[in-house]
Each structure stands twice: as structure tokens, then as C-alpha cells.
């Protein structure tokens, strides 16, 4: 234990995701030794992110305005929605440059053991978006784990009466991994999600 304010800082840092007690201590002492202007810049960034960043009214992605950069972009295909769990998934998919439609950020996955059901996610908002009839395809890009699969199952069943084209990302083998190390479930999913190769 350290004295007052130093320990307070360590405690606060330790509450961040991915930061353990040792990491919190390391960051705290780094900040103590850092140049005051660097620290002030960090404080400003933290304050601004809470003051300026909002959530897009259409898709729930982080935004600096009413709408996020993607929903404001007139070149994006409004007929396709890609459903993801978190804003950081939007960033990951944008990096691939494969996708030209819009997104819908759920805010997590259905996890009954954590008490999180469909009503705790932005499912109603999704249904409202689908109701206007402009959407033709829904891509379910929830995480390729059990909760993500269950969430995709739930959504697919929910939108079924709407007659949309519903697709799921081929959750295949991780790039760079060896086939022999893949577990049965991942390998099975990769087979299920296989695409026709055009040669």
C-alpha cells in the first residue's frame, strides 16, 4: 500500500479492463515520473472523451455528433446492416475495407448468467431500423464464441418473418494458426462457413 493519492491512482487504474494490480502500479509510477505536460494532455483527452463522445442515434456506434462518421457517409450502402457487439468491432471490420454497408452496435451479447437478456441490448432499435423496409441484408457479426453464436441465433429467429437475407460471418480458422491445433468446434464452424472458391 502507498500513501493516499498514489494508492487512489493505482486503485482507479486497476479498475480498467485488462489492467491488473501490477500493471496499475507500473502505470501510476510512469505517470509520476512523466513530464507534467504529457500528463495534462492525457487528462484533457480523458475529459474530452467523456464530454464530446456520444452514441450514434442510428447505429449506436461512438460518434462526435448525432450521427457517427459511417451513418453520415452518403456513399455507404443503406440496404445492408452489419450487427456487431461493440464499437471496437466496427473498427476491426472497417480495417478490412471489405464492407460498404452500415452497422448496428448491440452493446454486448446475450448472457443470461450475467443477467443480460435481449432487452438489455439495442435489439428494439434494430427492429425499428428493419421495419422501414429499406434493408435487404442483415449480416450477423457477433463474436465467434458461444454467447455471440447464441445472440446471432436469437436475432436470426427474430427477423425471420421479415424475409431479409440473413448471413453470418464465416467464423473460420484463425489466420496463421495450424489446422492440427484447431479445436473441433472451430474446425466444424470453418467447414460450415466455407465459401465456394472461384478459380
Amino acid at each position: 500500500m502507498y500513501e493516499g493519492v498514489v494508492q487512489d491512482l493505482i486503485d482507479e487504474l486497476g479498475r480498467l479492463p485488462g489492467v491488473g494490480p501490477k500493471g496499475a502500479q507500473r502505470i501510476a509510477f510512469h505517470l509520476l515520473a512523466a513530464d507534467p505536460t504529457d500528463v495534462r494532455r492525457l487528462v484533457l483527452a480523458l475529459t474530452e472523451v467523456k464530454e464530446k463522445v456520444r452514441f450514434c442515434k442510428i447505429c449506436g456506434n461512438v460518434a462526435e455528433d448525432e450521427l457517427c462518421r459511417i451513418c453520415r457517409d452518403p456513399r455507404r450502402d443503406v440496404a445492408v446492416i452489419c450487427v456487431v457487439e461493440e464499437s471496437k468491432d466496427v473498427v476491426a471490420i472497417e480495417k478490412t475495407r471489405e464492407y460498404r454497408g452500415r452497422y448496428h452496435v448491440l452493446g454486448g451479447a446475450i448472457s443470461p448468467i450475467e443477467g443480460i437478456g435481449p432487452d438489455d441490448l439495442r435489439v428494439k432499435e434494430l427492429m425499428t431500423r428493419l421495419a422501414d423496409g429499406e434493408i435487404t441484408e442483415l449480416i450477423l457479426a457477433t463474436d465467434p464464441n458461444l454467447e455471440g453464436e447464441a445472440t446471432a441465433t436469437y436475432l436470426a429467429r427474430l427477423v425471420k418473418p421479415m424475409g431479409l437475407r440473413v448471413t453470418r460471418l464465416a467464423s473460420g480458422l484463425p489466420v496463421g494458426g495450424d489446422l492440427e491445433y484447431a479445436d473441433e468446434v472451430t474446425l466444424g464452424r470453418a467447414f460450415e462457413g466455407r465459401r465456394l472458391l472461384d478459380v
Binding site: 443470461p112 448468467i113 453464436e149 447464441a150 441465433t153
Partner: protein, 246 residues
């Protein structure tokens, strides 16, 4: 604390929690060691050697290192992969999650052997995954049997207080189930006779009789089984209100 070293056991993954950058704490119900918690290092990386083996519902053969504060999973091999078939159906997924949470809550102590609970859970998940029985019935059978294994067997026929042979038309969770007119405490409910027959069938695993039940009796039985479970737990299950009842 037990002896430090390496041990091998089989277990079912009940719950996972993120830890640090890429690890998870895995809660498992094992055959020999009861409920344990162990760290799976690097499991969230896509290249992890564990892959999907340490996700909820997985039945795995484990090699575990007993660490100073938390145990560490060294190896995990699949014995059965119920998770995929369970989460392919939302009703099954929610029922299955309630089974996992029940197993976690009714095995109150870590590292205390709970072979019967383990066998019950494996059997329950297998039945749920194969889809031959309605998910809601599989869950209710699991609830009443888990409570019996935990020492809280309800009586659905004879009076739970004086053992007078039933059937009786009163039911009281605090009194232990069916109660005769003389023993019934205030606030006892009067379920349909068929509902108590159904609960008996679920307790004994008589699927033929349970399968022949009507929807309204199944709903009533679910309500009584849930109320009975909640009575024996300090706080309610988070997953139970989210179960999709068919």
C-alpha cells in the same frame, strides 16, 4: 489449501470471466474436485491452443496446475461439445445457462467433491443438446433433481411434513412440497393434480409420463420448481427470469 502440484480431472465449464489482456478465469464443475476456478492463459487470443474448448457447456478432460492463488489450466481436451447444439436454439441456450448457474450455486463450496451434481449436469446437458425433450422440461427436471442431490428433495406426493400418503392438493415451498390439509401452512398453493404428477415424473426421470403432460401443467410445474429453487438459494438466479419457456 490442497497439496501443490498437477492434477487431472474432467469437468463441465460453468462460467468464464475475462482476466487481464487475453486470459479468462474458468469456473468448472469437475468430477473429483467439485467446483473449481482456474485461469486459462491466452485463451482469448484467436491462436490459443484452447480454442473453443473452455467455453460454457464444454465437457473437457483437464490437466490443471495448482498455483499459489489460482489454479492454471495446462491442457484441455474435449470429451463432448454440447455448446454448439445448445446455442443453435435460443430456448435451449437459456435453459442450459440456467442449469449451469444452478449447478454453480448449489455446489456452495469450491473444491468439495460433488460427483452426483457433476453426473446430473452432464446427463442434463446431453439431454438438452440432443433435443428429444423440450428444453423447458429438461431444465425443470434438472432443477428438482439438483435440489434433491443438494439435500432439498421436495415431496410431490406424500405430505412433506407428516408423510401421510398423497396425493395432496396443497403445496408449500417452505414446508418442503406437497402438504396434507392438517399440515398445510398459511399461504399454501393448490396446483393441479397433474402438475404434481408431472413434477414427480421429472424427479424420477419418467420422460414418457412427463412428455404426455399438457402445456398449462408444464407452466405451473416450472413456476413451482423455480419457486422451490429460489427458496433454497440466498439470492435469485440471474438467468432464470431470462429462460424462454416454450
Amino acid at each position: 489449501m490442497g497439496p501443490v502440484g498437477l492434477y487431472r480431472d474432467e469437468g463441465v465449464v460453468l462460467r468464464t470471466q475475462k482476466l487481464g489482456e487475453a486470459d479468462r478465469i474458468i469456473t468448472l464443475l469437475t468430477r473429483e474436485h467439485g467446483r473449481i476456478r482456474a485461469v486459462a492463459k491466452g485463451v482469448r487470443r484467436t491462436k490459443s491452443k484452447f480454442g473453443a474448448r473452455l467455453e460454457p457447456f464444454m465437457h473437457v478432460d483437464l490437466q490443471i496446475y495448482e498455483g499459489r492463488s489460482l489454479d492454471i489450466v495446462q491442457q484441455a481436451e474435449s470429451l463432448a461439445t454440447y455448446g454448439e447444439r445448445i446455442c443453435a436454439d435460443y430456448g435451449r441456450y437459456t435453459a442450459g445457462t440456467a442449469m449451469l448457474e444452478t449447478a454453480e450455486r448449489l455446489t456452495s463450496e469450491e473444491n468439495e467433491p460433488a460427483v452426483q451434481h457433476f453426473l446430473l449436469l452432464v446427463g442434463g446437458l446431453r439431454t438438452l443438446a440432443d433435443g428429444a425433450q423440450p428444453a423447458s422440461l429438461v431444465l425443470d427436471a434438472f432443477l428438482v433433481r439438483s435440489l434433491a442431490v443438494a439435500g432439498y428433495a421436495a415431496s410431490f406426493e406424500d405430505c412433506a411434513q407428516c408423510a401421510r400418503p398423497g396425493p395432496h392438493s396443497y403445496f408449500n415451498v417452505a414446508a418442503g412440497g406437497a402438504v396434507c390439509p392438517d399440515c398445510r401452512p398459511p399461504g399454501s398453493v393448490t396446483p393441479a393434480a397433474e402438475t404434481l404428477v408431472l413434477l414427480s415424473a421429472l424427479l424420477t426421470g419418467d420422460w414418457a409420463a412427463a412428455g404426455a403432460s399438457e402445456a398449462r401443467h408444464r407452466r405451473e410445474a416450472s413456476g413451482l420448481a423455480s419457486a422451490y429453487l429460489q427458496w433454497h438459494l440466498e439470492r435469485g438466479l440471474r438467468s432464470l427470469p431470462l429462460v424462454e419457456r416454450g
